[in-house]
Each structure stands twice: as structure tokens, then as C-alpha cells.
Symmetry: C2
Subunit: 212 residues, 2 copies
């Protein structure tokens, strides 16, 4: 097994992302070696699950010892594509967009938001942090000029699909969607949805059951 021959299941990729976070914590604490059971405790899963997940990457553990924090951190960064920086454009400079631009962990992980686009003519030309907001008519141009790899959608639901169609036509292959709509796009474009409402409603379901 290695990172090239086989696709890693999505559920596993998401956990790898968590493991990386834990490893960075361990690194900060000066821990040099970590067993699957320690990662499992931290992540609320089982040791077998951790080992199965990590086995997708190859054989980086030492029997009797566990995993080298240093080595595994590097491997995970590599597999997850975090050993380079990704250039990100944000569509929508509303409240959510604004919060995302200034979200430190993104930059720390190599996601650089270089470009912000908004439909509101009042906002175009003003600055969000250090970034000058561009108008939607410039969309295709700035995606090319700024060599954007990935687009975050944080515009109101009704305009999301239209903008994403243009983004896809411009050749972007990865979209992170915060708008409360189900976007339709070609199979070769990766899409993740961050749905505040879906999560909240599944909690509501749990609460409603709880009290019969």
C-alpha cells in the first residue's frame, strides 16, 4: 500500500487530518513516539481504527514502539498535500467570508486566501484585511492571474450555483461550499460542504429524541 496506488477512503482522509493535529500537539509537548492507542484516545476512536487508517499510507510504525511523531507528521503532511501552499479565492465578503479570511489555522496549514470577490458594488475596491475586494465581473480574470487552486463559496444561496458554474468553467478543481445549497458540478471537481444547518438540525433530532 502506498499513497499512489490506491485511493484512500474519504472517512479515513478526514481522520488523517485529525491525527495530524494530534501529532502536532504531541510534538509541541516533546513526545517523540506515539502508539495507536494514544491517537485513538485523543480522537475518540479505537486503536485498530487508527492502525487501519495509517496502514493506507504504508508501514511507518515500529512494532513494540509505536510511530515516530516526526516521521508520521511528515508523511501525513505529504499525503494530505500540506507540504505546499494552496492559493485560495473567497467568493462572498459577508460575515462568514470575513470570518474565514481572518481564520488563522487556514494560513498556518498552507491555505493562502489571496483573492476576495463580492457582488456588492459598495464593497468592491474596499479592503478586507490586506486584500482588495474584486467585483464578480473580474472573476475569471483574477482566478487566472492569481493562479487560484481552490475556491471557498460564502455567497448567499440563490447566487451560489451561478458563480460556481463560472468557477468550474475557469478550470478550478476544488470547491469548499458554505452556502446552504446543494451545488451541482462535474464529477472531476472535488466538493465539500460545510453545512451549519445540517449539523444543528441533527443535534435538534438528538434533543427531540432525548425527551421522547
Amino acid at each position: 500500500m502506498n499513497e499512489f496506488t490506491s485511493r484512500i477512503p474519504d472517512a479515513t482522509v478526514r481522520r488523517l487530518s485529525l491525527y495530524l493535529r494530534f501529532l502536532e500537539d504531541f510534538e509541541r509537548l516533546g513526545v517523540t513516539s506515539v502508539a495507536s492507542v494514544a491517537l485513538a484516545e485523543r480522537g475518540g476512536t479505537t486503536a485498530a481504527q487508527v492502525r487501519k487508517d495509517l496502514s493506507h499510507l504504508g508501514s511507518y510504525g515500529k512494532r513494540g514502539l509505536g510511530y515516530s511523531v516526526d516521521e508520521l507528521t511528515g508523511v501525513l503532511r505529504g499525503v494530505l498535500g500540506l507540504d505546499c501552499t494552496w492559493r485560495v479565492a473567497l467568493l462572498g465578503a459577508g460575515r462568514i467570508g470575513t470570518a474565514l479570511v481572518e481564520y488563522e489555522p487556514f494560513r498556518r496549514r498552507g491555505f493562502h486566501i489571496t483573492t476576495v470577490i463580492d457582488n456588492d458594488p459598495c464593497k468592491v475596491g474596499t479592503r478586507l484585511g490586506k486584500i482588495r475586494i474584486r467585483g464578480q465581473d473580474e472573476l475569471e480574470d483574477v482566478l487566472r492571474e492569481d493562479r487560484i487552486d481552490l475556491v471557498i463559496v460564502a455567497v448567499p444561496a440563490p447566487v451560489a450555483q451561478g458563480m460556481v458554474d463560472r468557477v468550474v468553467a475557469a478550470g478550478i478543481k476544488a470547491v469548499l461550499n458554505y452556502a446552504p445549497v446543494q451545488l451541482r458540478l462535474p464529477a472531476d471537481v472535488a466538493l465539500r460542504n460545510v453545512s451549519m444547518l445540517v449539523e444543528l438540525e441533527s443535534l435538534s433530532y438528538a434533543l427531540a429524541r432525548h425527551r421522547q
Copy 2:
């Protein structure tokens, strides 16, 4: 099958939440009856999946016709616990917290953020929209006074666990976590994580694979 005898799988609950959104769109358009295949197209899934999901709720479809938009909307609201209002407290009045307080869809669905708590003494006493920000020393008191059902965590990672422990001790049974940490809490408390980083990193993985 009905909503009391059997627990609905989590994956299904999340899709129910989407179906409800689609039904509301159909309702606005004046459509009165909808077939599983229409909901499937809208949600990027299959008609069989939709029917299997809805079969968890009981038998609300009419063969040859589909589902009554009105009736199914009501049933879904009921099952998801959206036929009442939930009182929500927000921990953390940072950028993410601020964006969440003002997020319209929450209120429209019956989630009323009545309470905001922040650790920063400079913020305590100031207002976020109409809500006066309270200090963390008041946490237990306001949770009780405001009869909070559900807590949204949007504080920095290092302080999240400590605050959630107090929230759980105060009897709260549902937590929505935006902080980039894995919270540990008792099994009878429902927890959902909204992890911006995990989603972004799984896109990064897709991109990295894409170009070998």
C-alpha cells in the same frame, strides 16, 4: 417503522435535513406533490436512497403520485425536532461567533441564540446585535436562567474543553463545536463538529492526488 421505535441512522438524518430544505423550495414554487426521483436529483443521490430514508419515518408517500410536499414538510419538521424553538447559547464572541449570531437561517429554523458568553473582559457588557455579552463566570447562571437547550462552541481551541466541561456539568445535552479540537464528553451528550480545517484538508488531498 415510526420515529419512536427506532433510531434513525446519522447519515439518514443529515439527508432528511437536506430533503426538508428542498421541500421548502418546492413549496415556494407552488409544487404540491413530489416524487422520490425529484428529491434525489436535487440532492445528488438516488431515488432508492430517498425512499429508504423516508421509509424510516413511516409511510407518507402515495404510490403513483409521490409525496405531498405539505405533509412531508410537516413530518420532517416533527422528526427533526424543528416544530419548536430551541434556546441556544454561544460561547465565544470572536469572528466566527459573531458571524453565527447573525446567521439568518438559524433563527428561521427555530434556533434562537439568546445568550453570548466571552472570556475577554473588554467584551463583557458590550452588545452583539441585541444581546449583551456575559462573562464566563456567569456561565452556569445564564445557562439556567435563559433555559438553554443547546450550546455552540466558538472559543479558541485551548479553552474549549474546560468550558464544555462546565456546560455539560450544567446539564446541557447538545453541543455544536466550531473549535479545532476533539472534545471529550459523556456519551449522553450529543456532539457535532464543524471543522473547517478537516474539510479543507480533504480537498487538499483531492487536489494533490489530481496532479499525481
